[in-house]
Amino acid sequence: MIPYLLILPGLAWILFFFLVPLLSLVATSLQKRAGTSLSEGFVPALQFSNYTSALGEYFPQFIRAFLYAGIATALALVIAYPIAYYIAFKATKYKYLMLVLVIAPFFASFLLRTNAWKTILSADGFVVETLNALSLLPEDRILNTSVAVIFGLTYNFLPFMILPLYASLDRIDPRLVEAASDLYASPATGFWRVVWPLSMPGVLGGVVLTFIPASGDYINAQLLGSTNDKMIGNVIQAQFIVLRDYPIASALSAMFMFVLLIIIVTYIRRVGTRQLV
């Protein structure tokens, strides 16, 4: 009896404000306009054409969201692994200091941090001038390009990659690595055959925790990208808040959620089974 009383209020909150809204979203996605203009409101219906027309119009933003999020997640994994490895195995004395430094950015405004990249990547800034001097920038700029958006996504969700990686690397017994080297494995072989497979839960967690918020984000595309870099989040936001075409906005949201779910489940299945073999 006691456990049910303990979970009841919290679970009721999640039921009423998460599951019921999701159903409400699906219901809204099938509504049709009451009149000819948007301002006349919507009536309940089963208008499935909302889905096809939404997808037809916003297919590029749809693909872009998953593409940008995928690249950002891969970059985040590459950047996060060394530091997570270092904190778990090498940073004996400064372990907690480094963890605090990794978490610290969370405590400053997400919007301001993203906006700060405008300063760092500005056309007359050090970064862009250096890269231009080496003629590495095809468009002579970074801001208002897809590079800036992907870069911003990578930056903003990096701690979500570092922390799960650290958590699973920290659990690995360092003696296993010693055992590998005792058995004449080179450091590289030791890493790929022992550490990497054992860190798979962290890789899995980090990839999922980074990919989900990155694919739904619209702040980076808005602040750092051009109009050609808009993602599905930007469209959903604009449709809901600015244009107020609620059925189209809801249809887009429902499709986004569905496709994201398929991607995540497929990913977890593939990596999960490989891990068992």
Partner: protein, 265 residues
Amino acid sequence: MTWLRKRVLLFVSLLTVAYLMLPLLVIIVLSFNKPKGRQNTAWNEFSLAAWTNICRDQTICDSFWVSVRIGLVVTIVATILGTMISFALIRYRFRGQLVTNSMIFLPIATPEVILGASLLALFLNIYVPLGFWTITIAHILFTISFVVVVVNARLAGLDPRLEQAAMDLYATPFQTFRYVTFPLVLPGVVAAAVLSFSLSFDDFIITNFNSGTTVTFPIYIWGAALRGIPPQVNVIASIMFLGTLAVMALLVAVARNRSKTKVVK
């Protein structure tokens, strides 16, 4: 060369920390800037104007206090509800536990746009006016799950024999909870509360869907980003960032001190 090779990992890690910290440095430096035009993105001239007159534009401070008030309500409700769930999940075995567990984690595994959009769809369909309370409801929803995760970690690492010992010594269930369990779980609960507050205070995506005409601090920043963010915003962000760092350092120091005295005893 071997000296360098041994330290490659250290250098890469320090570079990553620098990468994470760079925007914060920019935020703090620009709080001392006197912007040339409206956009405070390039360094112009040193000035303390923003620091000495934070509320020059009253809307900044108003939005700040709106976010603080929402954050406090969210922290209290989410911490209590989340801690209760956590106790049930870790301390009891009951039917439907797995379902409960996955229900708790669903909001974390859902992109914020979807959480915000679906709540808006619900509020629109049942004609709830948007504002302070719809924002608060939305924030409580997504912070409960984080509270459960944090408190779970603390509770799971707690030796149940400590409670059994208290009961063996004739403590009532209430006394056991009051004098043994609660003090031991408290650090986890405090950490969860701090996390809830900062998640709520900084949330933009979900808030943007459910705010109506209420202006929270992030909503103010979003609106200002187009016409130029005044340096006062940087001042508030810098104070909050440095303040949290100081509190975290203090907590770590206290925890260290405690563990030291334990060893001495």
